[in-house]
């Protein structure tokens, strides 16, 4: 276990040390103490290492993550796991706006609530939120799965292209071209797997599925102002 005091040793040296880890590194377990809301903690990782952050973080935690597992024992600021490619990011507390934005792959788990624009423009990432998500979540989502064990705010899935949205609680409103869809057995299976990997004991049968009505794919003069 490598322990790194972020206040004592600074952010650049931390990220440089994490970037220096090769695929076959022996230093597979890292603990970061005293994050104190710092920005850009553990960004751009590309090795199968486990990074545990003891406290809350600021903007862009674990952005662009590949392969690594980053576990924040606190809350995360805006843009956590932005553009995640693979690996796993777990937030024990809440996440601020645009969590998992533009994510291409991997798994983002938020054990508390996520605020607005969770999964905006998601492109293949799986996001599981144990609590609620704010307004405009999955805005322009293109691929992947967003699972919300609590409630969703206004305009869920606005202008969605594709992607599956699963919500257990209420949806305050659906965005343009987002509709409720049939929950088929294959969706139950996808959801069961995601919930299990995210450590949630919610039942897949309790969820509703939402997705694209595919009415905005092509220009329609009736949609113009």
């Amino acid at each position: 276990m490598q322990t790194y005091d972020l206040q004592a040793n600074g952010l650049r040296d931390l990220n440089a040390a994490l970037h220096a880890q090769a695929a076959d590194t022996n230093q597979t377990s890292w603990e970061i103490v005293n994050p104190r809301g710092s920005h850009a903690v553990a960004v751009g990782l590309d090795a199968p290492i486990e990074v545990s952050v003891k406290g809350s973080t600021g903007y862009y935690t674990a952005g662009m993550n590949k392969q690594a597992t980053v576990h924040v024992h606190g809350s995360a600021g805006p843009g956590v796991a932005e553009n995640i490619m693979s690996g796993t990011v777990v937030i024990e507390g809440d996440a601020s706006q645009y969590a998992g934005a533009t994510g291409h792959g991997g798994l983002l788990v938020i054990k508390g609530n996520a605020s607005s624009r969770c999964g905006i423009s998601m492109k293949g990432v799986d996001i599981v939120v144990h609590g609620n998500v704010g307004h405009m979540s999955a805005f322009m989502a293109q691929s992947g799965n967003l699972v919300v064990c609590g409630d969703a705010g206004d305009a869920l899935g606005d202008s969605i292209y594709e992607a599956r949205l699963f919500v257990r609680g209420s949806v305050k409103s659906l965005g343009a071209d987002c509709i409720e869809k049939e929950m088929r057995p294959e969706h139950i299976e996808i959801l069961r797997d995601l919930l299990e990997r995210a450590g949630s004991d919610a039942k897949p049968e309790e969820f509703k599925r939402y997705g694209s009505a595919r009415q905005l794919y092509n220009f329609k003069v009736d949609n113009a102002y």
């Binding site: 809350s56 706006q97 605020s115 704010g134």
Partner: protein
């Protein structure tokens, strides 16, 4: 960007540390806006006197004889305590509004920063650490306060473009964001007789709240109305003599974090600003909801309530 911090104390034991805590919070937010900085402090109330905080480019000459002139015009005793480019004028109780109006005639070079019974606003161009140091903010005590560090977008970097803005007796406002309908709203408010000094968008926001309240709205009602009438991005943190409020626009793209313990309610643009507060490890920390007015007052000290719009 801009950075906002706010601290509303429930525990009187922390009051001597208000200035020091706010200064530390604001310095942490320096990289959100290095252009200018300001702090509003709500100090102890003296029922026999009201206050007018003023600023001048050339305080040496501008403040010379100012207390006597204002005292003569008001028909009472006025004393002046200078603090760098600012001064706090101590007035006969209840004369703050009248004094502010008279000041424009008596001393056009002197700008009113704030008026009321307990509020003092200090703001200047420069980094938070320098602005706080020149006014000795760390040594100030009080019940609640708000700080702002500015990255200018809509108007020039000047003292008058700095936040907080004074909106009425003992009322102040800070803003993170940018208002897009401030020009048309400024013209409308000026037609209504509201005095607006600069091209700054936030000053229009402040003037809008003042105008609403002059027409009978409470601060909470004025803030709710702002959600309808102001176009653009805003996180507002407001102070009143006894209260502290927060409102975010419906899009809520400007960051905001709040923390509450038995000792205080705190606001920060980022969590970083809150990490040195006592007991933050066990505080309730949350992100305020969009289009929702939150307000705390000392009257409800043991159960401060958030009020949804």
């Amino acid at each position: 960007m801009c950075g906002i911090v706010g601290l509303f104390l429930k525990d009187k034991a922390l009051e001597p540390q208000l200035g020091a805590l706010l200064t530390d919070m604001l310095i942490t937010m320096t990289d959100r806006g290095p252009d200018s900085a300001g702090i509003a402090i709500y100090g102890a109330e003296d029922t026999s006197a009201s206050k007018l905080t003023v600023q001048a480019e050339d305080p040496e000459t501008a403040f010379d004889g100012l207390a006597e002139k204002l005292g003569a015009a008001l028909g009472g005793t006025v004393s002046l305590a200078r603090n760098d480019t600012h001064a706090v004028l101590s007035l006969p109780a209840g004369k703050a509004e009248e004094a502010r109006t008279l000041l424009r005639e008596i001393a056009p070079d002197v700008r009113a920063m704030s008026f009321g019974d307990t509020l003092e606003i200090y703001k200047e161009v420069g980094l938070p650490k320098d602005v706080a140091a020149r006014f000795g903010i760390s040594d100030m005590s009080g019940t609640h306060g708000i700080g702002h560090t500015r990255m200018a977008t809509e108007s020039a970097v000047t003292t008058l473009g700095a936040h907080p803005f004074n909106t009425g007796l003992d009322q102040c406002l800070v803003h993170n964001g940018s208002l897009s309908n401030h020009n048309s709203l400024r013209r409308k408010l000026q037609r209504e007789g509201i005095h607006i000094e600069t091209q700054n968008d936030t000053e229009v926001g402040a003037a809008y709240l003042t105008w609403k309240m002059q027409n009978g709205a409470t601060l909470g009602e004025a803030l709710e109305a702002s959600l309808e009438d102001l176009d653009g991005f805003f996180n507002f943190v407001v102070g009143t003599k006894d209260g502290f409020g927060v409102v975010r626009d419906p899009i809520a793209c400007k960051p905001a974090v709040m923390a509450e313990t038995d000792q205080y309610v705190a606001f920060g643009s980022e969590y970083r600003a809150l990490v040195n507060l006592p007991g933050i490890e066990t505080a309730r920390v949350w992100e305020p909801e969009p289009a929702t007015v939150y307000f705390w007052t000392h009257d409800q000290a043991d159960t401060p309530k958030k009020k949804a719009a």
